[in-house]
Symmetry: C2
Subunit: 385 residues, 2 copies
């Protein structure tokens, strides 16, 4: 217990990953001090968290009304913008658990400040991977993955000196893996939100159901592990026990396995390079260990996966457009404005209309994001007509 207390800024504390991060901190409270909490919504929960973890700094995105300002003022925390919180001197680890591109500025601020970043936000890296990784290298910032798949890859690469020959990202396949293809267009929101193995936020749960999530993860893996997208392979593994695999130059491969519980990769990132005994999370039940099922993804039934991989290969502003169009389309689906199979239709149409900017600047990416959101809305409207 003589180890230095790690000081954490948690961005996106009221979301699914944010709350589970605080579970981990609670379980290992002597090792961590929460110095900053930031949330985009759920003021009530943010205030409860602030009372429990007594951070010095707080940020709430919707503090443009008096009630919110009063609630924040009552907390005895200093209000700080996201970017500033992510780059404060007294922060050792910035956990980025915000959703969408809202966290991009904070990610960039953190890498520029040379921080260690536990990254649970996919979109920043998908949209601006080239910029983020270049800045991270320049400023000796470390990006530690929190996604279960990328944590698995990172764990498999641990201690290895050579880069991987191939990465095998596993996908649960979501709730519609065995659903009749001809009924995909009648999938309801309730059905799409019932993920068979993972408990997650709504957006990522729908992305898991369309396999867009896996496509985004392919692009994320490309940046996190500096590997060509061609060498990232997706395999469907319905049980979500093998979280991903890595193949090495000599033909040997490694896989990481565990119960599907996000607290494990969160914990791994926060306590790295240690692995602490974990009584909250039992190991796999080896006495009842069952067969591990694998199959190839059905890209006809799940076109989002191919759309994402194609956008990733094209690069430039395409991945940003992919993310933005998907976010809009999923939002419309969740509000029952479009059907489940309209999600890839909208994304595809937006991608087709896009004029790529290769080697984009941050402004180019933000402009592409804005354009894609608008175009996605228009496209959705034209589909509904």
């Amino acid at each position: 217990m003589a180890e230095k207390v790690k000081r954490i800024a948690l961005l996106g504390s009221t979301g699914s990953i944010g709350r589970q991060t605080l579970d981990v901190v609670r379980a290992l409270h002597r090792r961590f001090k929460v110095v900053g909490l930031a949330a985009g919504s759920n003021l009530k929960l943010l205030c409860e968290q602030a009372k429990e973890f007594t951070p010095e700094y707080i940020c709430y995105a919707r503090s443009d009304n008096k009630a919110a300002r009063d609630a924040i003022a009552a907390l005895d925390c200093k209000f700080l913008p996201l970017e500033e919180m992510a780059s404060r001197k007294e922060v050792d680890v910035v956990v980025i658990a915000t959703s969408g591109l809202a966290g991009l500025g904070a990610v960039l601020a953190a890498v520029k400040a040379g921080k260690t970043i536990a990254l649970a936000n996919k979109e920043s890296l998908v949209a601006a991977g080239a910029i983020i990784t270049a800045e991270a290298e320049k400023n000796k910032a470390r990006i530690l993955p929190v996604d279960s798949e990328h944590s698995a890859i990172w764990q498999c690469l641990r201690g290895e000196k050579q880069p991987p020959r191939r990465i095998i990202l596993t996908a649960s396949g979501g709730p519609f893996l065995d659903y009749p293809p001809e009924q995909m267009n009648s999938i309801t929101v309730v059905q799409a939100l019932a993920h068979p193995s993972w408990k997650m936020g709504k957006k990522v749960t729908v992305d898991s159901a369309t396999l867009m999530n896996k496509g985004l993860e392919v692009i994320e893996a490309r940046w996190l592990f500096n590997i060509p997208i061609e060498d990232v392979k997706v395999l469907v593994h319905p049980q979500s026990i093998v979280h991903s695999m890595v193949e090495f130059a000599d033909g040997s491969a490694k896989a990481q396995l565990s119960r599907p519980d996000m607290r494990l990769p969160i914990r791994y990132a926060l306590t790295y390079p240690n692995r602490l005994p974990n009584n909250d999370l039992p190991g796999l039940d080896w006495d009842n260990f069952s067969d591990l099922e694998f199959r190839q993804p059905d890209i006809k039934k799940f076109p989002c996966l191919s759309l994402a991989i194609a956008a990733g290969k094209k690069g430039g502003t395409f991945p940003a457009v992919l993310c933005a169009a998907d976010e809009v389309a999923v939002g419309l689906f969740l509000r029952e404005k479009i059907g489940f199979t309209d999600i890839p239709r909208v994304v595809d149409k937006v991608l087709q209309k896009h004029d790529n900017v290769s080697s984009p600047s941050l402004d180019d990416i933000l402009a592409a994001d804005k354009w894609a959101r608008q175009t996605a809305l228009e496209t959705a409207r034209s589909i509904l007509k």
Copy 2:
């Protein structure tokens, strides 16, 4: 290619692992120089190997006849006893691929000389694990596993700072996994030698069929990875793709996967800490990756597994007795003197008759080995009556 050439002494060069080791050396010839070759049988092959690899030193166990002496003399190599070859100054890595306890003296000589040892011989470690590992630690010798299972564990532990919480040794289950239990006593030698996934020597192939091999590996794992036998679990995995798994303190586990080809673990041990590109051995066929099957071992049908684990837990001279009795019993089976199910019967009876010596000296171990061989022969005779 600027790396230092590793100078290898290969003990047991004409056996299955020995020949595959030379395959690896042939493929990576610039990185290795074979300085010594030793064999216990197959003089013709030894001479061919000596002509191809031009070692400085040679050893042949059966050189007590003129023809053998003449053949060796014609080779332009210096004859050296096994122990001396294993400890020569100019040797960087000693590959121990001898069978049975014949290599024990050489293993001890190598650890005492502080060598790096690529160990493919199970029996030395099973019988004298406490002595070998203590000497290795004292003399800063490194023991690198060559067995596919232990190589897998070693690969999974790569870069990890904490000891494993559990080791999961996988077993193919051998050719009789689904064989009717009531017909086990009529298994022929030809049937027992037809292993479904691995090409190996006769003794180890029969040991795989009885699961004795897995039991010996449990004891081996105990010494190689300093883990209580209670924390080593055996799982049957018929495809032999997952070569073993390791569970860590945090509830995460890693597995190593590859095609079943002994050249991979041999190569890994010889080139460690590097992994060299390997065009001879393709990776797994991810485009046709199938389900991985796992089941619990049937200890009623395969009593050798429990006998070995029990002997390992008792410790002392029991593991040496286990090895020796098994070697005699398998030898008798291969010569069709006893039946397949007589193998565990003989081993069990010998173990039951044994008076244990705890914390045995090398002499105690050799005496127990001798006693067990004699007692196994007597026991087999009494079974046949």
